[in-house]
């Protein structure tokens, strides 16, 4: 078998801790690998990967900071910043509560930071000043900004709530569907909100008319969702292939999903759409990382099996670098620029 892309044009390190999340910084040059032991490792294509003890306990979520570093939430109740130079600061501290979700939008000049703590979604401005605290009927399990940073969605029991971040009075649009919703994403064009569910399914709401969209048939839990650039496709984990639902021409209702990069009986655990092209990367339970091209239906192997389930996957904003992490603590960055 030909060598995989990681061996040819990548770099990897053993971080010896479950990689909870991986995300590039805003300029796309560094990766923040968030680890289960509370550390953030800052990875790059060359040189050492410094490790910083950001949380006193476990790290639960990581996202790009508005400046060049990373934001993370932990079971130490902290919403923390880790700068590229290793400067660690607290945006907020919530006592013994877990900070389970984090999200950001914009840049250091104008942006928003969001995190969830129990049933509340808390919004901060770019300087870390708390703007508002938005309550939900049960614990918030996922949060997502829309592409313009105007709205933010939160998933919970019984559906999702869609808020206007800067509204003077906070009345969410309630998107209801019975069951436990475990994560959420908003269509890049603002057309729909989709949640992952406890029951091996996705649920969506078309925002123009509230039409329900049921996407089921997964053999395993869904959880990782990623939109193609303009929202024509929604990629999802939870099957032994990347499952892509079409969001065009009235879809996904009444249209079968596209299945790419199947590995028989091995569950796809993470998906990440390329930021510009119709290419989607995927990680699998056996440690494989692959990339599939929607038009040509070609599949490229990025990383061979092994090293534990793929638990983190991210592109840089330029779409030139792909980062991954696994449950056994292997983390890597692959250079995909044309040579």
């Amino acid at each position: 078998m030909s060598q995989d892309l990681l061996a040819q044009r990548g770099v990897s390190h053993r971080l010896d801790a479950y990689v909870v999340g991986a995300t590039f910084n805003r300029s796309g040059t560094r990766v923040g690998f968030g680890l289960c032991d509370g550390c953030v490792v800052i990875g790059s294509q060359s040189g050492e990967w410094p490790r910083f003890e950001t949380h006193d306990g476990g790290l639960l979520a990581i996202t790009p900071d508005l400046a060049e570093g990373f934001l993370s939430g932990g079971d130490d109740g902290a919403l923390s910043r880790t700068g590229l130079d290793g400067t660690i600061s607290r945006v907020a501290q919530f006592g013994s509560k877990w900070v389970e979700q984090v999200a950001s939008y914009g840049d250091a000049a104008a942006g928003l930071i969001a995190c969830s703590v129990g049933k509340n979604l808390i919004l901060f401005d770019q300087g870390g000043q708390k703007l508002k605290e938005l309550p939900h009927p049960s614990t918030v399990t996922g949060i997502a900004f829309d592409a313009k940073g105007k709205r933010i969605a939160a998933s919970h029991y019984g559906g999702a709530s869609l808020w206007y971040a800067m509204a003077k009075t906070d009345n969410p649009r309630k998107l209801e569907w019975k069951g436990s919703h475990t994560g959420v994403t908003i269509h890049p064009g603002g057309e729909a909100v989709v949640t992952s569910m406890q029951e091996n399914a996705l649920h969506g709401w078309r925002l123009t008319d509230g039409q329900h969209m049921r996407m089921s048939g997964y053999p395993a839990k869904t959880g990782s969702l990623s939109w193609s650039r303009h929202g024509k496709w929604l990629a999802s984990s939870g099957a032994d292939a990347i499952v892509l639902w079409p969001f065009t021409g009235g879809g996904p209702m009444g249209k079968p999903p596209l299945e790419l990069a199947q590995i028989p009986d091995i569950v796809c655990t993470k998906v990440a759409f390329h930021p510009a092209h119709d290419i989607v990367a995927a990680g699998y339970a056996d440690g494989t990382v692959a990339m599939a091209d929607i038009g040509g239906e070609r599949v490229l192997r990025v990383k061979a099996p092994g090293d534990g389930e793929v638990s983190a996957l991210a592109w840089n904003p330029q779409g030139t670098l792909l980062a991954f992490g696994t449950e056994e603590g292997l983390a890597g960055i692959v250079d995909l620029t044309a040579r």
């Binding site: 877990w98 029991y157 406890q198 029951e199």
Partner: protein, 320 residues
């Protein structure tokens, strides 16, 4: 594959002595580390970074199963804890005094991730000898907590006479005739009799059952009871599956726990099964001992119609 992490569910109404027992588990030198999910820090006087506070959030699964309620908060919290599984040897889930233990137990059978990485070890219920009779009258959860238990710790035995204690234990036994009863004064029971019991392991089903009562006691002051039957002819698997399936479909809410050991025709291994409501689990376990092979079944539940259940089970036998 790494070993599955054992999970112990600790229940009991307020004031029974649950927190005292939990404090002992967390402070005693037994060489094991436990992650603990509790409802509120309250009086827990232990500084432990593996203690997690959680609001009990029960939801119904959308799978058409009437009593398929699970604890979503446990799924989230334990999934996160399992990422650091090297830091602890087991998990203890403490419930509030008003909680029904079923959703907690069902969570570990229904969520595929927890099912793959953890195993339910036992449901341990703490009651206090002085107040149990009153609690059984004023709180329906008190009886449910005993019904679901694998171990009942009868605490504060120093506050009652020997006769009162015997009456309390008879009440516990009437609700759940296969439960293990431990006595304590201040939660001072040996930790190894509470943790690591493997009560949900199929090869230990009914291991702790006393001799089956031929005549059930008739205290009749609680609506939850247990009934048990044994039959001598082998059980026809198809008949049994059909009967128990129909029974669970119709009566799932009333059937709290069921355990059985069955002799199938021409099969040298015992077939064991157990269920929490209608969520059942069964497998062949070790061989029968020499001698007659009796199939046994125990039902713990509400409004159990003993003659009807007996006839149903007897009709599952192969024809003479």
């Amino acid at each position: 594959m790494p070993d599955l992490i054992p999970v112990t569910v600790l229940t009991g109404y307020l004031g029974a002595g649950k927190t005292t027992l939990l404090n002992r588990i967390l402070t005693e030198q037994h060489g094991k580390r436990y992650a603990v999910v509790i409802n509120e820090f309250g009086e827990l006087g232990v500084d432990n970074d593996l203690v997690v506070e959680s609001d009990e959030e029960v939801f119904e699964m959308n799978n058409g199963c009437a009593c398929c309620t699970v604890r979503g908060d446990l799924i989230r919290i334990i999934t996160a804890l399992l990422k650091r599984r090297g830091r602890f040897d087991g998990i203890i889930v403490e419930t509030t005094g008003l909680a029904n233990p079923a959703p907690v137990a069902q969570t570990f059978f229904i969520d595929e991730n927890l099912r793959a990485k953890t195993r339910l070890d036992a449901i341990v219920t703490v009651v206090d000898a002085l107040n149990l009779p009153r609690r059984l009258l004023d709180s329906p959860e008190a009886a449910a907590q005993i019904a679901f238990a694998d171990v009942v710790v009868v605490n504060k035995t120093d506050l009652v006479s020997a006769e009162e204690l015997a009456a309390v234990e008879a009440q516990v036994r009437e609700i759940n005739q296969i439960v293990t009863i431990l006595r304590s004064e201040r939660g001072d029971v040996p930790i190894d009799q509470i943790l690591g019991r493997g009560a949900f392991d199929l090869d230990r089903v009914l291991e702790f059952a006393p001799d089956f009562l031929t005549d059930d006691s008739h205290l009749h002051n609680v609506d939850i009871t247990s009934v048990s039957f044994s039959v001598k002819r082998p059980i026809d698997p198809a008949r049994f599956t059909k009967w128990i399936g129909a029974l669970f479909a119709e009566r799932a809410i009333d059937m709290l726990r069921t355990k059985g050991i069955l002799a199938y025709p021409g099969e040298d291994r015992r077939y064991a099964f157990q269920a929490v409501h209608e969520i059942a689990d069964g497998a062949f376990i070790g061989p029968w001992k020499e001698g007659p092979r009796e199939s046994k079944i125990v039902f713990i539940g509400r409004n159990l119609n003993r003659p009807q259940l007996r006839r149903g089970f007897e009709a599952c036998q192969v024809d003479e």
